[in-house]
């Protein structure tokens, strides 16, 4: 049950006037008002929640963005920024009385700066597009969310996106060094840049992962890394997920930080193997894929070290890739795990909690118990190095009540993550999906302090309201740090 801020009837009543005003700012096809065309924006990657925006605006210049935001602030109109719409947490879910601000026209790579190993790009450039643009120079952009073909760097900044390589190379926040943003006041501000550690408060650090609630990103400067000369993958089978988890801990304790380290449970392994025929062993309870990258001398040395550790942790099978084709084959199943699970179930719901890795066996045991309680199965894939779980809850939306059961199950899994010392989301963001679970991790003071930051950027509460925080509060009241007076009523959201 997700409730969104109640639509402002006064704004809705002025729709025609607002469209005319926006057309003066963004001429031509940049203002979308037709219902059929608006349908394209009705949801993001969290497809269970849908809502048509009042209007979509697709600006193509920073000046237009600034003018749109100024107009919205002056007229008390809510704004939901959107990149490619791949968010899995509903970060770009529209509002019935809001403007959907699509940044898809900001597609230019503005500068590739080799001496400083960075690139300056517009926010609508895709994550993979950056790496492709600099591959010829032997460089790449490290964070690699699984949606990297489609997702944009602007959306990555909003969500602080991760990927399989982030244990070694960091999340978006560790690889973005500068942004240009437009504030709700229409001011254009630069945070960070090509230099190290900008002066003053690290507002760049606060902006990354702020889920589109602090400002609209109009330019991004990313750090580029030289492509590792070699990468090899190991595919290791274990008789239990616990022994696979122990092996991961031992690898790290031995001082090795692999480029990627992924575990799949039996159900996920079987689904992936049936889909892509990667040669995964089907007689194991858990499959661990470890990728080591660097110079050949280092990779060969570490492959031997990891093989040795695996044999000490009950590994029942172990193969190291000997060619690039084989390495990619090992990964093919893991990378196709989500669609593979989609083949064995009409629908699935992807969760994203992080736990201390040492609690993995207990968490999996309790999830198995929950499977009984909810009558739904779970396939597990996880970024094992950093304890980031992606349980995939299998359900059938056509069966009455199953979506609700899947969501309740998911919420229980996330509560369990917090209970064992983990967090609600490792890389997908809070959005609308986990918004109402925030009080399991944070008390009223913690949340009020976060909202005080929001108020410094957006005191009118117009940028992406209804996301992240379970209760909206008015900034003037926040000054007293008590938010019970600030609760706003939420209507039921239409659901499909």
């Amino acid at each position: 049950m997700i409730r969104m801020p109640e639509p402002d009837q006064q704004v809705l009543a002025r729709r025609g006037e607002i469209i005319a005003a926006l057309r003066r700012i963004v001429p031509g096809e940049g203002v979308v008002e037709n219902e059929n065309e608006l349908r394209a924006f009705e949801c993001d990657g969290l497809t269970a929640y849908r809502q048509l925006p009042m209007i979509a605006v697709l600006p193509s210049t920073t000046a237009q963005v600034a003018e749109v935001l100024r107009y919205c602030k002056a007229n008390n109109i809510r704004i939901v920024p959107r990149g490619a719409g791949t968010s899995l947490s509903g970060g770009a879910m529209p509002l019935a009385d809001g403007i959907l601000l699509g940044m898809g026209k900001f597609k230019k790579i503005l500068e590739i700066d080799l001496p400083n190993r960075c690139a300056v790009v517009q926010p609508g450039v895709t994550n993979l597009g950056i790496s492709q643009a600099v591959r010829g120079q032997g460089l790449y952009y490290a964070p690699d969310p699984s949606s990297q073909i489609a997702c944009t760097i602007g959306g990555n900044v909003a969500e602080n996106s991760g990927g399989v390589h982030c244990l070694k190379y960091g999340l978006t926040t560790n690889n973005v060094i500068g942004v240009e943003i437009v504030t709700l006041d229409g001011e254009i501000i630069r945070l960070g840049g090509k230099h190290f550690d900008g002066p003053g408060y690290d507002l760049l650090g606060a902006l990354v992962g702020s889920e589109g609630m602090l400002g609209v990103v109009t330019e991004v400067t990313v750090r580029l890394l030289p492509i590792p000369p070699t990468a090899r993958a190991l595919m290791i089978g274990f008789p239990s997920v616990e022994s696979a988890g122990d092996c991961v801990a031992a690898v790290i304790a031995a001082g090795i930080i692999p480029g990627g380290m992924e575990i799949m449970d039996k159900l996920a392994t079987e689904a992936a193997e049936a889909f892509v025929h990667a040669g995964y062993p089907l007689d194991v309870a858990a499959l661990l894929i470890v990728e080591l990258d660097g110079c050949a001398a280092e990779v060969d040395h570490l492959v031997a070290a990891v093989e040795h550790i695996a044999t000490q942790h009950q590994a029942v099978s172990c193969r190291a890739s000997t060619s690039e084709e084989e390495r990619l084959l090992f990964w093919a199943g893991r990378k196709a795990a989500f669609p593979a699970v989609g083949r064995i179930s009409p629908d699935y719901y992807c969760m994203d909690g992080t736990i201390p890795r040492k609690r993995i066996a207990e968490v999996l045991r309790r999830m198995t118990e929950m499977e009984q309680t909810y009558g739904l199965r779970v396939a597990n894939v996880f970024h094992a190095g950093d304890g980031n779980l992606h349980p995939l809850i299998l359900y059938d939306a056509n069966r009455p009540g199953e979506l609700q059961r899947a969501e309740d199950f998911g919420a229980d899994i996330l509560r369990l993550c917090v209970e064992v010392g983990g967090v609600l989301t490792g890389e997908h963001g809070v959005g609308v999906e986990k918004r109402d679970l925030m009080p399991t991790m944070f008390n009223e003071t913690d949340l009020a302090q976060q909202q005080a930051l929001k108020c410094a950027f957006d005191d009118a509460g117009l940028l992406n309201p209804g996301k992240v925080f379970p209760q909206l509060c008015r900034c003037a009241e926040l000054g007293r740090m008590h938010i019970h007076g600030g609760k706003l009523p939420f209507p039921e959201l239409e659901r499909f």
Binding site: N174, T183, I189, D197, P199, A297, G387, Q449, L453, C455
Partner: protein
């Protein structure tokens, strides 16, 4: 001057709450080693957090450590070393630079986003800051982040606290990401004729996939003051490149770099770590200049900045770290003038991009001059609104960062 010494977060909250009621301004301190970093802005009382100490949890295999904020850095680093781990951002020892002998603490390192030579490859202190508990300027205990290495739940308040110099909240407990200590380290020393050649070399080397973990340029004049100078080749100056990792990897990468950039002298083990500790501590400039600036230009434009400064301050001594992204510059007071050189330095930086911090200078100068780079009007207004959201009465380290608040 009033001195408060709370023993835990609850006592701290009570003190700050009382100070908020009376408008009493507070200087936050524990070991005091960085008391002379930032603007000189005396307060009515000192909040000494040094009793809020002790390591709470350390899980080497989880790569996380949780400690009370005033835990001595030496205690943390000792424990990490015993498990062959480290703080990858290599916090430097600035005590000699800042003229103070106090004990550096983990909270202080994070509050000042204090990062050393490996910042080039491993990121800054802020990149390793995972979660915390703190008391804000209203005397309320609050927390953010988590105790796991991967977390995007809510705004990333750790980044905001790192480098806020205690002006937003007083940290009481922090969780950091720790990393394995490299099995071996080796520093290659390549002779260069001048800063231009040094910068070209560093940029080319950092564009190779050989994973250089630190890159510095030391002109001859400052080289002579290194404790390892006996092990260094003579010449105009040296570029130092550090390689870390498993022994076969370091050997391979050494060969690869030498094949491209020529034969290099090598520092290993103790000499290598001594050199980089000196660079982090700015030791090559100590005793030679009363005023020390830290300049962070766009790395490729460091030479342009140096040329601009050479015109103004002929006898300035300097060296480069972070592949040119950090210049430490020492000035004589007479040469620097009444503004410690701020006007000339910042005019030069306006052309190259980046920012400058007045690091070591007498209190009187740090009371008058903008220690941190002045912000644009829009950014300054935003910064002040952020400050008010945490400390509306302006009692936590007021005017430590900016004259106005």
């Amino acid at each position: 001057m009033t001195l408060y010494q709370p023993g835990d977060a609850a006592e701290l909250a009570a003190i700050i709450s009382a100070s908020a009621s009376s408008g009493e301004t507070l200087s936050i301190s524990s070991g005091g080693s960085k008391r002379r970093l930032g603007r000189h802005a005396p307060t009515a009382a000192t909040l000494d957090l040094s009793r809020i100490t002790g390591i709470i949890d350390y899980e080497p295999a989880e790569l996380v450590l949780t400690a009370r904020a005033a835990t001595p850095l030496a205690e943390i680093e000792g424990l990490l070393a015993s498990r062959r781990q480290m703080l990858a951002f290599e916090p430097p020892d600035w005590r000699a630079l800042l003229g103070h002998t106090g004990e550096p603490t983990l909270g202080g390192v994070l509050a000042c986003n204090q990062s050393g030579p490996r910042r080039l490859k491993a990121g800054a202190a802020r990149d390793h800051f995972l979660g915390f508990s703190a008391v804000n300027g209203r005397g309320e205990i609050w927390k953010a982040g988590g105790r796991v290495v991967k977390n995007v739940t809510g705004y990333d308040m750790c980044k905001l606290q790192a480098g806020a110099f205690g002006t937003l909240s007083a940290l009481t407990e922090v969780t950091i990401k720790v990393m394995p200590r490299p099995e071996t380290a080796r520093t290659l020393l390549l002779p260069v004729t001048d800063a231009t050649a040094a910068l070209t070399l560093m940029s080319a080397a950092l564009n190779t996939p050989h994973e250089i973990s630190a890159a510095a340029y030391l002109p001859a004049a400052v080289l002579a003051r290194s404790r390892v100078s006996g092990a260094l080749p003579a010449g105009n100056g040296l570029v130092a490149l550090r390689l870390e990792g498993p022994a076969p990897s370091v050997a391979h990468r050494t060969d690869a770099l030498e094949a491209t950039f020529g034969t290099a002298a090598r520092l290993v083990d103790g000499d290598s770590s001594t050199l980089w500790a000196e660079i982090g501590a700015v030791r090559p400039l100590l005793g030679n200049a009363a005023i020390v600036w830290r300049l962070n230009p766009t790395p490729s434009r460091a030479v342009q900045l140096l040329h601009a400064l050479a015109g103004q301050f002929a006898s300035a001594s300097f060296f480069l770290d972070w592949g040119g992204g950090q210049i430490w510059a020492g000035l004589e007071p007479a040469q620097a003038g009444p503004d410690a050189g701020a006007t000339a330095i910042r005019a030069a930086l306006a052309k190259t991009g980046g920012h400058a911090t007045l690091f070591a200078a007498p209190d009187e100068l740090r009371a008058q001059i903008d220690v941190f780079e002045p912000l644009s009007p829009a950014l300054a207004a935003l910064t002040q609104r952020v400050k008010q959201g945490f400390d509306p009465l302006g009692i936590l380290n007021p005017r430590r960062m900016y004259k106005e608040f």
